[in-house]
């Protein structure tokens, strides 16, 4: 993650990536068709495809956030926030699984990092998953991690690689043995609270004279602190007229420190528009 993204909600890529986007936009017949590549830009920019990144991509490619979310959940190779920083992908298709090659790799990963397929270490640094054929079937097991491709990845080679990563992160196998891992959950989190649904007021609160059977009287008031609509790409059209050089991204004052929607703290300043 770039340091910027951890401090403020962002509505644009960095200038270099915006320039790249404009390159794509010129080459493809329409902006939507550049989506696959623009999502890769988002992946590079944010380290994984966060909600924030999806909003930016939706704005750039003139599609709804839902469409982008649909893409990201369909294609398994995109890196998502629930993945570890170092994401181990171990091929589990027949050619690799023969002679227990897949298992050998998975067991070694488990021994060092304490994670089984589908899990992430407690600190989010490492994750492991089984994937389907990685197209190098003559040299099993095939493993990918950190945009690198490894074949015959078991035994000493894999152990060395794991040790190297552990050392880089200043971690030890003992730590991961002691702390239990987390199951990764690929489901899309519930929509961020600042999205306006029908029946919600502009500030995001439900009308108190609600007829919603699920809301008891008075409960509506509790939600008045929900931040107003964000200046997402919906409200700041980032279409054809975008400055090609890419302006420095706007920092959003008052947004939560995580820079994403997972924690829309009850902070009234969110309604501020900009752009």
């Amino acid at each position: 993650m770039s340091p910027q993204s951890t401090t403020a909600h962002r509505t644009e890529f960095s200038p270099e990536r915006m320039a790249k986007f404009h390159e794509y936009a010129e080459e493809y017949p329409n902006k939507r068709s550049a989506l696959m590549m623009v999502l890769r830009l988002a992946e590079e920019e944010f380290g994984s495809i966060t909600d924030e990144a999806m909003e930016i991509v939706a704005g750039l490619c003139n599609v709804s956030v839902a469409h982008v979310q649909g893409m990201v959940t369909f294609y398994t190779h995109f890196k998502r926030p629930f993945h570890g920083k170092h994401r181990f992908m171990v091929c589990a298709t027949l050619m690799c699984a023969l002679e227990k090659n897949t298992d050998a790799a998975l067991d070694q990963i488990k021994a060092r990092l304490g994670i089984a397929p589908g899990q992430r270490t407690h600190d989010g640094l490492f994750s492991c998953e089984k994937v389907e054929c990685l197209a190098d079937c003559d040299k099993p097991p095939v493993v990918q991690c950190d945009n690198e491709h490894f074949c015959s990845m078991k035994g000493a080679v894999l152990d060395q690689y794991l040790d190297k990563l552990l050392k880089e992160e200043g971690k030890s196998a003992a730590e991961y043995k002691a702390k239990s891992p987390v199951d990764m959950d690929p489901r899309v989190p519930t929509l961020p609270a600042h999205y306006n649904f029908p029946g919600e007021t502009e500030t995001g609160a439900r009308k108190t004279e609600n007829k919603d059977p699920y809301l008891k009287a008075g409960e509506g008031a509790l939600t008045t602190n929900v931040p107003g609509p964000l200046a997402t790409p919906f409200t700041v059209p980032v279409a054809d007229g975008v400055n090609a050089k890419g302006a420095p991204s706007n920092n959003r004052p008052g947004h939560d420190s995580a820079g994403n929607f997972s924690n829309p703290a009850s902070n009234g300043k969110h309604g501020a528009k900009h752009g």
Binding site: L35, M71, F82, M95, D103, G118, C133, A135, C137, D138
Partner: protein, 479 residues
């Protein structure tokens, strides 16, 4: 290659009515892959690269190029084996819409890893093929779709396109002639279904990789509703050599209906797995024993998957009769497919293997068609029961029934690709299935089965959290 070293040394008296003289063969597409820097323009130019394109662009009539490729009998190397020249001639003409070329470098068929070598080690060959193909079909824009996992391949291909652009081979007025060409490299992101041609087009259009119903075929209405030709990386690379050397040269190898040469990917229990470029029509035994060096550790052959995971499996007896061409494999009820040959030895548990296979298809079904989405799921679940020695009475028939009902009822042929291996395993290894049918109380089985398979909130974890076949035991902790 054994053939290359001993040219015409063994003129085996073939019993066939008109034996084709055995022409020595040495690799063509893969000739340079082991040389250092083979991916650079300098290397490619030094071995006569782009000369063919230079000689034809703006000089030859495009129709003649199509005819030349048609005459050569080149068949698609992506799986279906459709004659390439014929496909090109089906292109809708005079629509006023732009024509696109979409090169299929998704290479997601398990057991196949040939395009990887072309992309990583000889990308200029592909770029030249794209230039020639686009000129022949009148396209000004080509998309090359690579699977997202090809990281080096993407970098090298992108660099090759840029190099070609700098030289004026790609871009406006290529080779100084009145022809324009844009090449766009698109990365996929881990979906097998984007290898299916219309699925790939959906992905290039910026959507989920949902295949579209055919007809209309892409040649009539494909990418962005415009006429589009979809070809595999290997097919397009072969075009360069065919245009350079002529159809007769290409036809000197292979059989009448499958002329030419093809890259085969050998994996599994052989001594020397890897990629081998050979003339079509050699025997499967030669491939396994001569090129692959025979089976590892003196093991015995049990079965062979001849054309990627989707191809129906061959038993050892069928392997003896099999030659590597489209007709022979079709007559054995299988297919040449993408040329991914996987050798299974006696030690492989076929039930485990089919469970692993079904898990793959269930994971990769795009979910548009009910027979495929549900069928692959049920095939996996029932195979899972067998995998855990817990087949129910009637499950063998159930598997056959599900598979039968999946075929020919869906938008794309992924459903068939899943059903075909299952049917072939049922046909040839029925005993293995029957041995795993137990006769304990049904209710009890159902309960254990449900506990294992029903995804609870906890077990809906990221991709592939379930046990993989062929490794009973080691992953049990993960669920």
């Amino acid at each position: 290659m054994a053939d290359a070293q001993t040219p015409a040394a063994a003129p085996t008296p073939a019993p066939a009515p008109e034996p084709k003289p055995k022409v020595p063969f040495s690799p063509i597409l893969l000739k340079h892959i082991n040389e250092p820097d083979s991916h650079t323009l300098a290397h490619y130019a030094a071995r006569g690269g782009y000369e063919t394109a230079k000689a034809h662009i703006g000089i030859t009539v495009p129709g003649d190029l199509i005819k030349l490729v048609d005459d050569s009998g080149l068949r698609g190397r992506g799986g279906a084996g459709f004659p390439t020249g014929k496909k090109w001639s089906f292109l809708a003409k005079g629509t006023g819409k732009p024509i696109y070329l979409a090169v299929n470098g998704d290479e997601s068929e398990p057991g196949t890893f040939k395009d990887r070598y072309i992309l990583e080690r000889d990308p200029h060959q592909l770029v030249e093929g794209v230039i020639l193909t686009c000129y022949a079909i009148g396209s000004k824009h080509a998309f090359i779709y690579l699977r997202g996992e090809f990281i080096l391949g993407y970098q090298r291909l992108e660099a090759a396109v840029q190099e070609a652009k700098a030289k004026g081979y790609v871009g406006k007025k290529i080779f100084g002639k009145d022809a324009d060409l844009t090449i766009t490299v698109v990365r996929g992101a881990g979906a097998y279904i984007c290898g299916e041609e219309t699925g790939m087009l959906s992905s290039i259009e910026g959507g989920r990789g949902y295949p579209k119903i055919k007809p209309p075929f892409p040649a009539v209405s494909g990418l962005f509703g415009c006429p589009t030709i979809v070809n595999n990386v290997e097919t397009i690379s072969a075009v360069v050599h065919i245009v350079k050397n002529g159809p007769a040269w290409h036809k000197q190898w292979g059989t009448e209906k499958s002329p030419g040469f093809k890259i085969f990917c050998l994996s599994g229990a052989v001594k020397k797995p890897g990629i081998y470029e050979v003339p079509l029509g050699i025997t499967m035994r030669e491939m396994i024993e001569v090129h692959g060096g025979g089976l590892k550790d003196g093991r015995k052959l049990k079965a062979v998957i001849p054309g990627g995971l989707s191809a129906p499996v061959l038993t050892a007896e069928m392997v003896d009769k099999c030659t590597l061409d489209y007709e022979s494999l079709a007559s054995l009820g299988s297919m040449l497919g993408s040329g991914g040959i996987t050798v299974l030895d006696e030690e492989v548990d076929m039930i485990s293997a089919i469970y692993n296979t079904m898990r793959f298809y269930h994971h990769e079904s795009c979910g548009q068609c009910t027979p495929c989405r549900e069928g692959t799921g049920w095939l996996e679940k029932v195979a899972h029961r067998f995998h855990h020695n817990d087949g129910h009475q009637g499950d063998v028939e159930l598997l056959g029934d599900i598979a039968k009902n999946m075929r020919g009822r869906t938008i794309c042929v992924l459903a068939d690709a899943a059903a075909m291996p299952m049917q072939s395993y049922l046909q040839h290894f029925k005993k293995d299935f029957e041995a795993k049918v137990k006769e304990t109380a049904f209710v009890e089985k159902q309960r254990t089965y449900r506990d294992e398979i029903t995804p609870t909130a906890k077990s809906i974890t990221a991709t592939g959290a379930g046990p993989s076949a062929l490794d009973v035991g080691s992953n049990q902790g993960s669920r």
